[in-house]
């Protein structure tokens, strides 16, 4: 790349370095996104808004509501439990076995979703699951009011299984940024543990915590595989609606609906991402990396 053939040529040889990346993401990231956006507005006879108005139908609206509730609940449980676990890990030795083990485990489990996870829970608390059988042998009925595993409730529980590790991974750096001197300074100034959390650590960690919550929310909102494995393809949540539209045999009409649904999802997640980066910036201001 050392060809000083005059100013402009040299400038573009620098840009050549970034070209492969730009070309690739242009083809496989930008293009599909554009196709989704275009698809959302196209109908059998040219551009149309009819796909978007279709989103008004009650079964689709309830799918969105279900998705939002599912995401909010699993994000909240995941955030709180994950924060507690992250705190437990961070207070140990930074090079210790426990920390490395838990971090590696969380790395795997946060990606552990979909089919395998659904099956794992079916194996645990499904109708012939290991815990159900064991309790039955002791005379306890695990499902006195009917089996709830294959419903939104079950799905929410299963989602926490990967939300918690994700929280640990995302939130731990913020906890690492808390300097021990702050705690010691609080103590020498007369503060007790709860003063510390209320006035020092709490406010400092809040932006990171909220940001992580948003990430968990987006994660649950976008998840497809677990739901596909657990529930009918029918589609009580948006991702399942999309897959139904895509694999429908009616053809083009449904693929535009899929695109419209996809666009709806993008809007929700985009709003969340914007909120997340704003919170990230605020948190980075105070907490050293």
């Amino acid at each position: 790349m050392r060809r000083p053939l005059g100013g402009r040529l040299r400038l573009s040889s620098t840009w050549l370095g970034a070209a492969p990346f730009l070309v690739y993401t242009g083809a496989f990231l930008l293009l599909p996104t554009v196709l989704v956006a275009v698809g959302a507005f196209s109908g059998a006879h040219g551009p149309t808004l009819s796909n978007l108005t279709q989103l008004d139908q009650p079964y689709i609206v309830s799918a969105f509501v279900n998705s939002l509730v599912l995401s909010a609940v699993s994000a909240s449980v995941g955030a709180v439990v994950g924060a507690v676990l992250a705190y437990a890990v961070v207070t140990g030795s930074p090079d210790g076995v426990m920390r490395r083990l838990v971090t590696a485990l969380c790395g795997v489990l946060s990606q552990f979703g979909g089919v395998t996870l659904a099956f794992a829970f079916i194996a645990t608390i499904g109708t012939e699951g290991f815990i159900v059988i064991w309790l039955r042998q002791h005379g306890i009925d695990f499902y006195p009011n009917g089996v709830w595993l294959f419903s939104l409730t079950g799905l929410t529980l299963i989602y926490t299984y990967f939300q918690i590790p994700l929280m640990v991974i995302v939130f731990m750096p913020a906890l690492d940024g808390i300097r021990p001197q702050w705690r010691e300074a609080t103590e020498t100034l007369g503060g007790a543990t709860w003063h510390y959390w209320r006035h020092v650590a709490g406010p400092l960690l809040l932006p990171a915590f909220l940001g992580a919550w948003l990430l968990l929310f987006a994660n649950a909102f976008s998840a497809y595989a677990t739901a596909a494995a657990l529930l009918d393809i029918g589609g009580v949540i948006v991702p399942l609606q999309i897959s139904r539209a895509l694999s429908s045999e009616v053809g083009l009409d449904q693929s535009s609906l899929a695109a419209a649904l996809a666009l709806g999802m993008v809007v929700v997640v985009a709003v969340i991402t914007v909120g997340y980066s704003w919170l990230q910036r605020r948190s980075a201001r105070w907490l050293p990396r």
Binding site: Q181, E184, A185, T188
Partner: protein
């Protein structure tokens, strides 16, 4: 230099607390198999500034943290103002602490940081604001009250930390190497600031550092520590001119090690007889510890070859003084003289050294290697 009278704290600011005496009695602390403190005992008089000086690992920071309550002692007691605080948690000990770095709360302004301790004591908002303002004025930062930590320089941050520690009017002020993380120039300015504030407020202070220049400049008394024990405790001048042990002599200031022979209460070094700090030292071979400023130079002929003749092999210009390294053949000697004088003895010139008749410390632990 010393002001050991029992001045009321905050006399200049209208407070009426009297300064407290701090006693460390046989403090010991162990981490696993490492002994950090080995029965440390010392007393800090009311209103005094004591510096604990020593290399890393000597236990000085551990001692400080034991006084603050941030660590638990394995044995011994900490007594503040007659009260045994050894088993009290840090938030009940009435101590103020300034850390080496990073201790300001990043999400609060300077004023809010300083007012924090007052908030813990449920002082009202108006009163907090007023007293925080006073404290910031005391350390010269009244105009920066609404800045955040990352907007302040290192020196300014430490001044805010000092104001914060003093705002709660503690009985004891503890400083854990507060200047170590700062640039050299800021360090000496802030050192004087801290001393000024400490004397104005009249608070009993324990200052930990590894920089001997700092300790000598700022303290009423200096305690030199090594391996968990106090080697010597006394005013800076004593520590410097009458070191009790070779470790102190070599840690504080520079030392030349000159082999010689002790006979009859004085030591014979290369033909010169020097008085001893401890005149009852038994006879025998020994190494005399001589300060560079106690050595003087006179020019000598090229051919001269006596035990006091040598060649200047290096000259370090240090501003007002210069340090010359003179090779005497079998050993090297550091000489410190005013720069104007040093001009007469450039590198390569032959010189003859002379030793001033200051009492010296001797050691029996080895040869003439220079530090």
């Amino acid at each position: 230099m010393s002001g050991l009278d029992n001045r009321p704290i905050g006399a200049a600011r209208g407070g009426t607390r009297t300064a407290a005496e701090v006693r460390l009695e046989e403090l010991s602390r162990q981490y696993g198999s490492t002994v950090a403190l080995d029965g440390l005992s010392l007393t800090i008089q009311a209103g005094e500034l004591v510096a604990l000086l020593g290399p890393s690992g000597c236990g000085k920071t551990t001692a400080l943290r034991l006084v603050a309550g941030l660590e638990d002692a394995d044995g011994g007691r900490v007594v503040v103002d007659g009260r045994d605080v050894t088993h009290l948690p840090p938030n009940r000990r009435d101590t103020g602490m300034v850390f080496q770095a990073y201790s300001l709360f990043p999400h609060m302004t300077a004023r809010e940081n300083v007012a924090f301790g007052l908030r813990m004591r449920k002082v009202g908002a108006e009163e907090r604001r007023r007293r925080a303002g006073e404290m910031l004025e005391l350390v010269g930062l009244a105009t920066q009250a609404d800045r955040y930590a990352h907007q302040l320089s290192g020196g300014q941050q430490q001044r805010v930390a000092l104001a914060r520690a003093l705002a709660i009017q503690p009985s004891v002020l503890l400083l854990d190497e507060p200047l170590s993380a700062l640039d050299a120039r800021v360090r000496s300015q802030l050192r004087d600031e801290i001393r000024r504030v400490q004397r104005e407020v009249g608070i009993t202070t324990l200052f930990v550092t590894h920089d001997q220049e700092e300790a000598l400049a700022i303290a009423d008394r200096v305690g030199v520590m090594r391996a968990g024990r106090l080697e010597q405790m006394g005013p800076p001048t004593s520590i410097y001119s009458q070191p009790a042990t070779p470790f102190v002599a070599e840690f504080v200031g520079l030392t030349n090690r000159l082999p010689g022979m002790v006979t009859g209460g004085a030591v014979d070094v290369r033909g010169i007889r020097l008085p001893l700090i401890a005149p009852d030292t038994p006879d025998g071979p020994a190494v005399a510890l001589v300060r560079p400023e106690a050595v003087s130079l006179a020019p000598t002929a090229e051919s001269s070859n006596g035990p006091l003749s040598g060649t200047v092999i290096a000259v370090s210009f240090l501003g007002a003084v210069s340090r010359l390294t003179v090779d005497l053949g079998d050993t090297q000697v550091l000489v410190q003289i005013p720069t104007a004088e040093a001009a007469a003895h450039p590198g390569g010139s032959r010189v003859r050294i002379a030793l001033r008749q200051d009492p010296v410390l001797i050691t029996r632990d080895g040869g003439p290697e220079r530090r």
